[in-house]
Symmetry: D2
Subunit: 365 residues, 4 copies
């Protein structure tokens, strides 16, 4: 019935106009655009040539002083499908940042997270929270969500890096927060490059790597890597009760060596004498290098390389390196992961006598 159809069309048009005025919309009118069989996207594949990007970036170095250029001199890669959105993809932003000799990109923090991949130049540093990190070509530096950070060129040449941030994602979530640090630079209370020393090398994993063990445990930890890490940490404070101690960790979880056992290598530096404590885990020690003593409930156990000894649960103990010139290295294993699994992990520091026990005897096993 043509008349009816006309009426119907007019009625529908009126209906839709009315809906629109009330900020309502019919799903049936847009569903095919919204609920697509596969993702549609306005993001375009695109490539920015280094020649152009570098030329523009260096021109910015000449034309835009850092103080005038806001807080950072970064040339952003804008996806042609996202013009006006300051984004390279739906979620990510990328830019080339330049910092010239003597310049400081002042400290601030923000909810977007940043990564920096160093392209060229030496002598720059990034400080994150309280740790200064030196930057060299090919290094990757992270400044996670809401961490204070500043960049500084303390060298004599231009330094460039690639910035990557999740700005488009955080903006789409209306969650941008930004704060300038009230002073010119961040206070440095951690050793320079401490986090690099702490983990010994890059933490990477082959894409698609399947661990041989069902529980994802590591199979092998080479001594030279452990040794290098210990050596790089020689001048750090270390622990109160165990000297400079490393735990072998499961790289698939960041957790303990194994579900039931944790392995440690601890370095007692020349003349080091630790504070005493006691804890629920029990420990089996193997003296790997050097000579020293462990005092357990007042009894002194003298050990040399190759000796093994046991500290039972909840017994006071402290360690002494007997040498004024050589390191003493103790390898050990403990059942701490079991204690932790059941809420049984407890530790207590010895508070009397300056934190160290009086020796009441010597073990002659």
């Amino acid at each position: 019935m043509a008349f009816q159809n006309v009426d119907r069309a007019a009625e529908l048009e009126s209906f839709y106009t009315n809906m629109d005025a009330q900020n309502l919309e019919g799903l049936w009118r847009v569903a095919h655009d919204v609920l697509t069989p596969e993702p549609t996207t306005v993001v375009q594949p695109y490539l920015w040539r280094w020649e152009n990007v570098a030329r523009v970036t260096h021109e910015a170095g000449r034309l835009v002083p850092l103080e005038r250029g806001g807080e950072r001199r970064a040339v952003a890669l804008v996806n042609p499908g996202l013009r006006g959105k300051f984004a390279a993809t739906d979620t990510l932003y990328a830019a080339i940042q330049l910092i010239r000799p003597g310049e400081l990109a002042p400290p601030h923090r923000h909810t977007p997270t940043a990564i920096r991949f160093i392209i060229q130049g030496e002598g720059a540093t990034t400080t994150v929270e309280s740790e200064k990190i030196t930057m060299n070509e090919g290094d990757l530096i992270l400044t996670p969500n809401w961490t204070w950070h500043e960049h500084r060129n303390e060298g004599t040449e231009d330094v460039l890096w690639l910035d990557g941030l999740d700005i488009p994602l955080i903006r789409s979530l209306s969650s941008i927060f930004f704060e300038s640090f009230p002073e010119d630079s961040l206070p440095l209370t951690t050793a320079t490059d401490y986090s690099t020393k702490a983990f010994g090398s890059a933490a990477v994993k082959p894409v698609g790597y399947k661990p041989a063990a069902k529980d994802g445990s590591m199979l092998m930890y080479r001594w030279p890597g452990v040794q290098r890490t210990l050596e790089s940490l020689r001048n750090e404070v270390g622990t109160a009760h165990d000297g400079m101690a490393l735990e072998y960790i499961n790289p698939h979880t960041g957790g303990h060596t194994l579900p039931t056992m944790s392995c440690w290598m601890q370095m007692l530096r020349p003349d080091e004498h630790t504070q005493a404590h006691r804890h629920t885990p029990s420990v089996i020690y193997y003296a790997f290098k050097g000579n020293g003593s462990t005092i357990i409930d007042g009894l002194r156990f003298d050990w040399g390389a190759g000796d093994s000894f046991v500290v039972p649960p909840w017994r006071w103990h402290e360690h002494v390196n007997a040498s004024a010139s050589e390191d003493a290295l103790l390898f050990s294993m403990n059942d701490g992961p079991v204690m932790e699994a059941f809420g049984l992990l407890r530790e207590e520091s010895y508070s009397e006598n300056g934190g160290q026990q009086r020796v009441t005897g010597v073990f002659d096993g």
Copy 2:
């Protein structure tokens, strides 16, 4: 009233005798022994001298042929407080194991987990599941719960190591299972020392380490460590779609670089041309070294060092190293962790044309 007391005592004695006969016991009679203010333990602090342990172990090497000595020639350290329990502590067992030139400690597996800390000697190997691992002084090797493993001395000198196992714990849980492998040796289907190459170095963490970032992210990944890892994996198969690709991981969790972004470094070896695929994460690439092409939905993007380019979500793409002699290295970041958080991670391999797209044009941006 003495008489009453006597009666009461007799009544109680009879009562307790009767309870005992019925396999019942009053908590009030034993609570003070059981629910102690602090842990009591029969484990004794004790030390085993290397001189003695080594002498006994070498004598065992002479007196106890491996075939006669069961499956392993291991001299266990028995805590004097746990005699008869074959244990060094409540939960842990330790022993010195010796394997002589030409010997094989045959393949088996068991629910107790083992660690091996190599004491001396060269030329031995441990195979775990399908991967042979070479053993050197100071190395730590794990054989997790129920993994097949064998030891073999392929060298010319005695090799000794410290064994640590959680046998007492697993026994106390009545959960010991053991199985011999039906053949003389495990089939080797993984490259020798693959897990060592994969992770580049020892995975260790200073005890008590507090990450600067609240979310525990790593601050710095040095290029030389990444480069060494890539180099050691040069001859491995790698991935179908991305060449030999490494993901930068968060060592505190074993997970992605950051909650919203994952960073990768991928090596396209000379003449390498990957298979095409598409996935929901979008990627920003930065060409770090070399020259090559990426084909996106049939359009070829040629790139050289310093160029940046974008692969949008769900677009077919594959990579080509244009050189027959030089590596091409691509650094990239993607939003895969966001996709994963919401169950949106999808990937599809290109199945036509042998898995590689036909080039329909060249990007001239």
Copy 3:
């Protein structure tokens, strides 16, 4: 110097024009708009009156037949700040959906997740995967990411509900996938309302609730609730080895009752005789109601209400309700969570003799 400024201005204008042509942008030009001290948003506070929404929805019921209206008749609330985006907030979509008597909203699935809060009307159902769920006023129904679902009005009155979906979020991630089910309706292979019966009641938690126990364990599980749940599941299949068995779960984690112990209540229905199995966890049973037998390694243990008995680790066992008319209820606790924590959980079904042991004796303890 005015001349210089003019030159500089011209130079800068040319510089910026050139950047724009190359799809580059200076962070310093937009940073203040992007990195705001606090979130800015185009989302407006807004209210849609029920009177209007209901009138429009019912008009849509008249004007837009379901078959013509695409797959769903839903009137979406469009935020005036997000016109053209089909969104109520940055991440969420809301709509009123109407389904009329006899109508079917055909089965499909999509990556956006949906919730339905039932507003009015009776007789409608939503099927999710293979389970049909009845809908009543005030109920909340979920259709998670990529689950098949259909709606059907099997009653005699209009049914309305509030739809909530994360469409704007999933669109901003370019991750919309959609698929129609190839048939008119989903096959029903699960009992109607099974998930409601399984969990006994609404799973809710007061906002801000702090558990008394540090490990978040529940303090109290009332018997009437457990009883109701068991009763509602009476006609379901249950388990092969334990009748209809419920585990008491920790509502803060969805996991076991406690880190070291799991508690169960199992109902053996009249004449029920389970299959035999063995597992590493050991179990202490308390016969709460009724009479029956448990056969352990061939020995029959007859029990009545109040009796306690133990099944050691890795022993074959099966349960029998001796009555043809009464239920038998066994409360029990086991150390399965400990086994699970260390990868020691194993179970084996008895395969001989039709899965049930031959009785070789009767316990007379």
Copy 4:
């Protein structure tokens, strides 16, 4: 060669004697006893008849006053294979506990975790930390690791329950700690039975339950259960900013309703006017029952049942129930889980004007 064998035997005997004197043992001598193909255990299957247990327990009630009987009058079930170990299995202890009218089992705490399954009698209570819990037949009460607890019989009849503890496990880990509370009873600062009210009913899950959704989300939350929970919490304090608010939780994880959305039902009691706050998540509200207002950045939005409204991210807002006699119920959904996933969850309380905004206008949309 018989002579040689004799010599060898003598040599071996001497060797083993020497090992033993040094607290060393050869794995090869014990491996077959320790590394068994399947678990061996000394735990025996056993059954304790209620008739006997009850008689002994009641005799203990007569013969062993609580003050004399240590802290608890519990008759433990001792496995005949574990005599002297005070254990029913390797890891678990079970006992029948009796508390007589007027008795108090005084407050203490310990590292072993306990469960109580109530057997018979009314009028007893268990206090855990600061919450008193009433005990009825068939209820299950937990006292997790290191929580203060006491039992009290405030009724007129004997009350019995089954105790289950992990004492043998915690002892085998040398981790028993015990502490008496310094006063006669625990201070009660939480409402009686609060945890029961909070979760509405028993948290149970059928053994072997497989959720229909891959991500384990719940499919259905029935309104009557939600309503009962709200009603039972009517007189509790609730939240500062949202009245008495319930979150619908995923019972498989204890977490939010869905990975991208959280659903709430909040009850504004008669005349309730909440404090203002702002937070990064945005919220879509649906007024389910009653009438009230929500003030957003000073603008008052009046709503009645059926109205929907939106609170954008980071906007001040507070809620008012306009009625002095009726509840107002708001159903809502928010994107808090997305914020949480990326460390973007922030909330701020309004501190001026007594925590409530001045109304500057009324929405007339």
